[in-house]
Symmetry: C2
Subunit: 145 residues, 2 copies
């Protein structure tokens, strides 16, 4: 079990806990949204009419994955997609009224649940952890093509 204390393993575990806490709270809220779907909706809300590739860039995903995510958001009726007039290759994505409603409802829940992800840490430790995480990511080149 040499792998146990390694950074990669710890980070994977944290991610596992994170997604678990997320879906737990979504379920309690009676909504079936994944972390990625939430992140995508958040990006779309902030940039209405954004194209899929830009959504992917904003939340650091690759284009292929985002396509599927937006497919499912569209099926749920949270997002609408139409061909851009400026560039007929691109799809402009927007939240529907229902999508905006859901996002407004869910944002405070998601904000609150963040603390639970790092339950084992006290406030000061949590701040330190987040500061270091931001620093570690901020100083790295984008990993997504």
């Amino acid at each position: 079990m040499k792998a146990h204390g390694m950074a990669g393993h710890l980070i994977r575990r944290l991610n596992q806990v994170s997604t678990h806490v997320f879906s737990q709270h979504m379920q309690e809220a009676g909504l079936d949204l994944t972390p990625v779907q939430f992140a995508a909706m958040d990006a779309i809300a902030t940039h209405p009419g954004i194209d899929q590739a830009s959504v992917a860039a904003h939340i650091a995903y690759d284009r292929a994955t985002i396509g599927g995510v937006i497919d499912r958001l569209e099926q749920k009726g949270f997002v609408a997609r139409n061909v851009s007039k400026r560039d007929r290759r691109a799809r402009e994505v927007r939240l529907t009224d229902r999508g905006q409603e859901v996002l407004d409802e869910i944002l405070p829940v998601v904000t609150a649940l963040q603390e639970e992800i790092l339950t084992g840490l006290d406030d000061a430790e949590r701040q330190t952890f987040l500061r270091l995480a931001r620093k570690a990511i901020g100083s790295l080149p984008d990993q997504t093509g």
Copy 2:
């Protein structure tokens, strides 16, 4: 982009960087091993003859996922599986000679690559980060059924 600074998002990004660094180095080493496959091999090497459910428990995965992982390790010839004599439901898993060879070869590479995951942090920060990550995980109940 309210989601950007949130713990969940940062952790997802870190995990993304982590797996990216990992596969980069595996590719350079001429091996096609994923982080999970490595973790599984490490657990199996430490507990020869372990059953699949225990492998899953050791690295915090669920049984169904581990089944597929071990399938692929078996296909690569790194792992051998046979029905336990004590419990005919269980499969005893062991590294093959080739599997042990590969693990021996890869362990130092994997150990070395851990630092690269947290490239943006200096030594002290890296230690702090890992300590807090361990604490955050250690104090949480097992998320896997």
